[in-house]
């Protein structure tokens, strides 16, 4: 976090963990804020329910989803889904005022819910909505909030150990919220695995009433302009991603990445210097300050594999690295590597993949 203290003196404060003040002992259970916006739940919410389930099981407590929304089908569906993804119960705050996200009513509602039902741990997605909301709520509650965690665990005495990148991502740090409740954390989309969905799971709905009055809410939504379908990238959820780095040497050569991606029906992306140079848009950047991806196959060409890039791709099932430098750090976490000139290999790879994956080739194999 800002002005991170040196580890040495904090060690002793960490030792003081057990002195949880009496009034905080009532704080129990793990909550996940289910991010429902404009009728759809952000998938990070299910990922968080997966992570929250593990924490709750370890602590021997219940896992609750928190759903805020306008009365209607979308809100009901979000509740049902929260159970399918592992919640034991769901708190429901229903009000037409909550149809669209606005900081004032959302922060008020969530803060009141926390004060009434006292969770031990509260997790939110590190999305624009989640970050906007979490910062307000944590400040109102005067508790700690750890941003952009990459790992969540419960330690021996039941405290939340939240790990996040620090110092520009070159190191990781584990952060505790001492002596305050709830312990709050945000997690970026695609960092945690989506748990399997159990259609038959059900849970209890706990309605909660908050006194909201449109006349008292100052901020008004004049309109919502949805992003054009064509400008959306599906990078974070793609099964196959092809990316390039500075090793491609020019914006023209980046076309080789686009070609391979197009042939594979894959998404393309790149390292941060490419967005800085304007070779690709900011929404195509992969890594700590870009997108986290979890594809089945990730092909990285001319990318050195700096930690900030690594944290965004580590969840891929199979990482293939093409780099001229056999000592490039990417080979430390890639599964398959080839030390060669990517500018030469990429067109050949596009051609060979087309051949291999074409129905014709496959029929021949089958026959």
């Amino acid at each position: 976090m800002s002005d991170t203290p040196p580890p040495a003196p904090t060690q002793s404060r960490a030792g003081a963990k057990k002195e949880l003040p009496e009034h905080f002992r009532a704080y129990k259970h793990v909550w996940v804020f289910v991010e429902l916006e404009r009728g759809a739940v952000h998938p990070v919410s299910w990922e968080l329910l997966g992570a929250g389930r593990k924490l709750a099981d370890k602590l021997g407590v219940e896992l609750a989803g928190v759903v805020l929304g306008a009365p209607g089908d979308a809100t009901r569906a979000a509740l049902a889904e929260a159970f399918c993804y592992g919640a034991d119960l769901a708190y429901l705050i229903e009000d037409p005022i909550l149809a669209d996200y606005r900081n004032e009513p959302y922060a008020k509602a969530l803060t009141q819910l926390v004060n009434a039902h006292k969770p031990e741990i509260l997790l939110l997605g590190a999305t624009t909505l989640g970050r906007d909301l979490a910062g307000s709520v944590a400040t109102s509650l005067l508790t700690g909030l750890t941003a952009d965690c990459t790992e969540l665990a419960v330690d021996a005495d039941g405290s939340l150990a939240a790990t996040r990148p620090t110092f520009g991502g070159s190191l990781l740090c584990t952060i505790y919220t001492l002596n305050y409740r709830p312990q709050m954390a945000t997690v970026r989309p695609r960092v945690m695995l989506t748990p399997s969905r159990d259609e038959k799971r059900e849970g209890r709905i706990v309605p909660f009433a908050v006194d909201l009055d449109e006349d008292k809410i100052i901020t008004k939504i004049i309109k919502f302009i949805p992003d054009r379908e064509s400008s959306k990238t599906n990078l974070a959820f793609a099964d196959v991603v092809v990316a390039g780095g500075l090793g491609l040497q020019s914006a023209e050569n980046f076309q080789l990445i686009r070609n391979l991606a197009a042939a594979l029906g894959a998404e393309f992306g790149g390292s941060r210097p490419l967005t800085q140079k304007g070779w690709i848009g900011a929404d195509r950047q992969i890594g700590q300050t870009g997108k986290t991806i979890r594809p089945k196959l990730y092909i990285a060409a001319g990318i050195s594999g700096a930690v900030q890039h690594r944290v965004g791709v580590e969840g891929a099932d199979c990482i293939v690295a093409i780099n001229t430098d056999k000592n490039a750090p990417i080979f430390d976490f890639a599964h398959i590597g080839i030390v060669t000139d990517a500018i030469r290999l990429l067109p050949a790879l596009t051609e060979a993949f087309c051949k291999r994956l074409s129905p014709h080739h496959r029929d021949r194999l089958a026959g």
Binding site: T128, F167, L172, F331, I336
Partner: protein
């Protein structure tokens, strides 16, 4: 209009190095910059001032050397710079930071008049939390507009402001009232270079420097390490994976190398071939 911009001096972290043996941060010699995201907010503040008149103050909490960043902000065009510096603030997490900054902003308002807008950066490149802006807003009871791509309209007389705010999947057009806290999105504007006379002025300008006492921050227990609910228990390097990549030997022809790579992929992940064949055909 009276506008205040919170800026932070940060290490130019692209150049941060970690000591290979002791795993500690080597800060010496790392140049510092104004947090890049803060510049978009500063620029927007200057534009509003240029349009409506008034003054822009910049505020930072940090070590004495953070004065350098304030001077840079003056050179870009800010009118007043305030440095909040005290050993009590060392080790602040975001909650303690927002306490100190909010108290300092109250003092700014007592000394220099009520502020119409407080700007913060979207996030810092070192803390990277995006929490300090919302935290300040909550503490000062300001309406909060984060991730603003554009200020569409602003009427200081009627106390109204309309902005485009980036949300997931689209843009919200929001109307709210002044005073408010705004964080600007990167690329929302082009940051000016600053006029020659501004940089001459900046070199000689007084930097208002406040200790906790000067800023009339009474409750020191809410500052610094003591006022921080979160503590960093451990800092460590990411663990290397146990095995390195399985290397495919490059062949003389690109085509053969490509086939070898594909062979290795499907040997490792047999189910991928079926999935990819479908994907390539557009399913």
């Amino acid at each position: 209009m009276k506008i205040l911009v919170c800026i932070k001096q940060v290490p130019d972290s692209a150049q941060i190095r970690v000591h290979p043996v002791t795993n500690t941060i080597m800060r010496q010699g790392v140049p510092t910059i104004i947090n890049p995201y803060d510049l978009f907010s500063l620029e927007e503040a200057l534009r509003l001032r240029d349009r409506f008149g008034g003054e822009v103050s910049v505020l930072t909490m940090g070590p004495p050397m953070a004065a350098e960043s304030l001077r840079k902000a003056l050179a870009i065009g800010a009118d007043r710079a305030i440095l909040l510096t005290d050993r009590f603030f060392a080790g602040s997490d975001t909650l303690a930071t927002t306490y100190a900054l909010a108290q300092a902003i109250r003092k700014v308002e007592r000394d220099y008049g009520a502020q119409d807008i407080v700007f913060a950066g979207k996030q810092t490149i070192d803390g990277d939390t995006a929490q300090v802006g919302p935290g300040i807003a909550k503490r000062l009871d300001l309406l909060q507009l984060t991730y603003v791509a554009k200020i569409e309209a602003c009427d200081p007389e009627k106390r109204e402001i309309v902005v485009e705010r980036r949300a997931e999947g689209g843009v919200q057009v929001l109307a709210t009232r002044l005073p408010c806290l705004i964080t600007m999105l990167e690329g929302a504007n082009e940051v000016r270079r600053g006029a020659i006379d501004d940089s001459l002025r900046a070199a000689r300008a007084e930097i208002v420097t406040w200790s906790a006492k000067d800023a009339e921050i009474e409750d020191i227990s809410k500052c610094g390490l003591r006022g921080s609910p979160t503590i960093v228990k451990k800092v460590f390097a990411p663990t290397p994976r146990s095995e390195r990549a399985a290397f495919v030997e490059p062949a003389t022809s690109g085509g053969d190398s490509a086939e070898a790579v594909i062979g290795a992929i499907f040997a490792r992940q047999p189910s991928l071939e079926e999935d990819m064949a479908k994907l390539a055909r557009g399913f």
